[in-house]
Amino acid sequence: MDPILVARHLTKVIGKRTIVEDVSFQLQPGEVFGFLGPNGAGKTTTIRMLVGLIKPTAGDVTICGFDVRRDFEKALRNVGCIVENPDLYRFMTGRENLEHFARMLSVDASEIERVAELVALAHRLDQRVGTYSLGMRQRLGIAQAMLGSPRLLVLDEPANGLDPAGIREIRELLRRLAHDQQMAVFVSSHLLGEVELMCDRVAIIHKGTLLREGSVADLISSRREMEFRVDDIAHASEIVRAKGLQFRADTDRLWISMEENDAPPLVAALAGEGIAVYHAQRHVETLEEMFLEATGGETVD
């Protein structure tokens, strides 16, 4: 299957600062792709290059086989996007906003009803966007992005401003669009948990470069650990190493990659060696820890 989006060696240098360096990835139809990174990592700059708002210093972007810079109109016909904030015309109503963008795409007016239904905004469509909450503007932004049934959705932090119920709705909507209609969905986020729930594949960006790329299962879910607090770290480390488990340690804690079911026997084994175990609990690695580790922060094998 041909990829919908191909980004090759994207680099953006402004002045002497390299904001994005050699970022490459692909999106296949039917997948939700998470673009994960802390604020200021270069997520938005990358997105702006994907949709042609800024010109890459090096590298190129192809959407459905069309180069974004050379065949802008053909490439962008396949894209719906929100960049940074869902900034729509506040002095116009939701419907006028959708009509505005529908005219630019020359799509039918019936499309407006369809996309408004999808994001459950039909009842507020005739009010001015200025009166909308951030969550409603986010939903209107997504509706706008879905006008004309694009093959690629590019959404920058789509969960921003939504309440938990709204986030769940959007998550389900995006997964449905990807899996039922074979769209490719590109979602950026700085929240690990969100990406884990929404995406099939993830790329992690930090300081402008891609740290890792892979399936969510490989990158995040496998990184589930148990945290143990013990009195004798050195002794405990020996025992754990002897069992062939992957772990990290600091002065009084061990983080061991293992399933919860395997915890009671380990606690028993530690206790049998005379080590006091003060607590044992599930530990989901935070994004920050992941970055620390990937960028060579303190890690013990």
Binding site: T44, R48, V51, G52, L53, I54, K55, F72, E73, K74, A75, L76, R77, V79, C81, I82, V83, E84, N85, D87, L88, Y89, R90, F91, M92, E96, H100, F101, R103, M104, L105, S106, Q144
Partner: protein, 324 residues
């Protein structure tokens, strides 16, 4: 594909209430002037216009003779005495307070500052507002090339500049009609007064009915407004902030107008677009602020400014990176 874009821009100007503001300003200013005119009419209704004109001429001649005024004013006064004398010689009253003449005078009075300011209000934020409100990110990620987006903004601005001029003329008539005599469209007027090297030339003077003269004056205003719109668009592209764009445009218009009046010795001023804006005035017989400016020069100057502005606007808009 282009018409829907113009439709979009039109909707935005209307929803932003820009045109409403322009209409309100026109209405307010025209009402005040009409009020003043009708008072003046009552005051001098029983006076002899010939004596009146004669008195104005001798006052101006006296002032010129006494000297002590800047060269610009002196030239204007000399031109004006000659014009009035010409009307007097032909036994035609030049400045009757009638509604048609009010409409005609509006072309001169508003053409060099008021109408350009109104067009600046309409145009200076047509691009920069999208940048400051963040909507350009959506506008420019739709499958429409950037030059088409900007061209649609230019066309929309030209449409609204035209509407502003038409509404100005229409409002001038509607507001003044109840207070001033309504007829007089066929009253004779003279055009084609020329000064070259201090000499007053009458060979080019022609007599036209007022309606024809009015159409020509508004045509010249229209041409100048299209150039102003192009310059406003370029500033709007250049500045990301609407306030900066409008401020610069107003400063250029007002500052330029003052400059041409206070420092006539700095002849480079003739290359400023503001010097060429009062086309309708020059057509009526008022000398341009700098000796060497002819009508053709003014028209060409505006064309060059507009062209350069548009080339810069398009070149920048099509290439630049859109950041948040």
């Amino acid at each position: 594909m282009f018409v829907p874009l113009v439709q979009n821009e039109t909707l935005k100007i209307i929803r932003r209430k820009r045109f409403l503001i322009v209409m309100a300003i026109l209405f307010a200013i025209l009402s005040v002037i009409t009020f003043a005119q009708s008072r003046q009419l009552r005051w001098r209704s029983n006076r002899n216009w010939r004596a009146d004109i004669q008195q104005r001429i001798s006052r101006m001649q006296e002032a010129v003779r006494r000297g002590r005024m800047n060269e610009n004013w002196a030239r204007y006064m000399r031109a004006e005495t000659n014009r009035l004398q010409f009307y007097l010689d032909h036994d035609i009253e030049p400045d009757q307070p009638t509604a048609p003449l009010f409409v005609r005078a509006f072309a001169n009075v508003a053409g060099f500052l008021l109408l350009p300011v109104l067009v600046a209000i309409l145009g200076a934020d047509i691009v920069s507002a999208e940048a400051s409100e963040g909507t350009d990110k959506l506008l420019l990620t739709r499958p429409v090339r950037r030059w088409k987006v900007l061209a649609s903004k230019l066309v929309t601005l030209w449409i609204f500049a035209t509407l502003t001029l038409l509404c100005g003329a229409l409002l001038a008539y509607i507001i003044s009609a109840p207070f001033l005599p309504r007829g007089g469209w066929i009253a004779p007027t003279f055009t084609g007064f020329q000064i070259a090297r201090g000499e007053f030339h009458l060979d080019g003077v022609r007599q036209l009915p007022l309606w024809k003269d009015t159409l020509i004056a508004y045509g010249l205003d229209w041409y100048a407004l299209l150039a102003v719109a192009a310059i406003a668009l370029a500033l709007s592209v250049l500045f990301r902030s609407s306030v900066a764009a409008i401020g610069t445009m107003l400063a250029a218009l007002i500052g330029g107008t003052i400059l041409t009046q206070v420092s006539p010795d700095w002849t480079t001023g003739k290359y400023l677009f503001v010097s060429a804006l009062p086309l309708a005035d020059y057509y009526t017989g008022r000398p341009p602020p700098y000796e060497e400016m002819s009508m053709v020069f003014c028209i060409a100057l505006l064309a060059v400014w507009a062209l350069v502005a548009l080339i810069a606007a398009f070149a920048i808009y099509v290439r630049r990176d859109v950041f948040g």
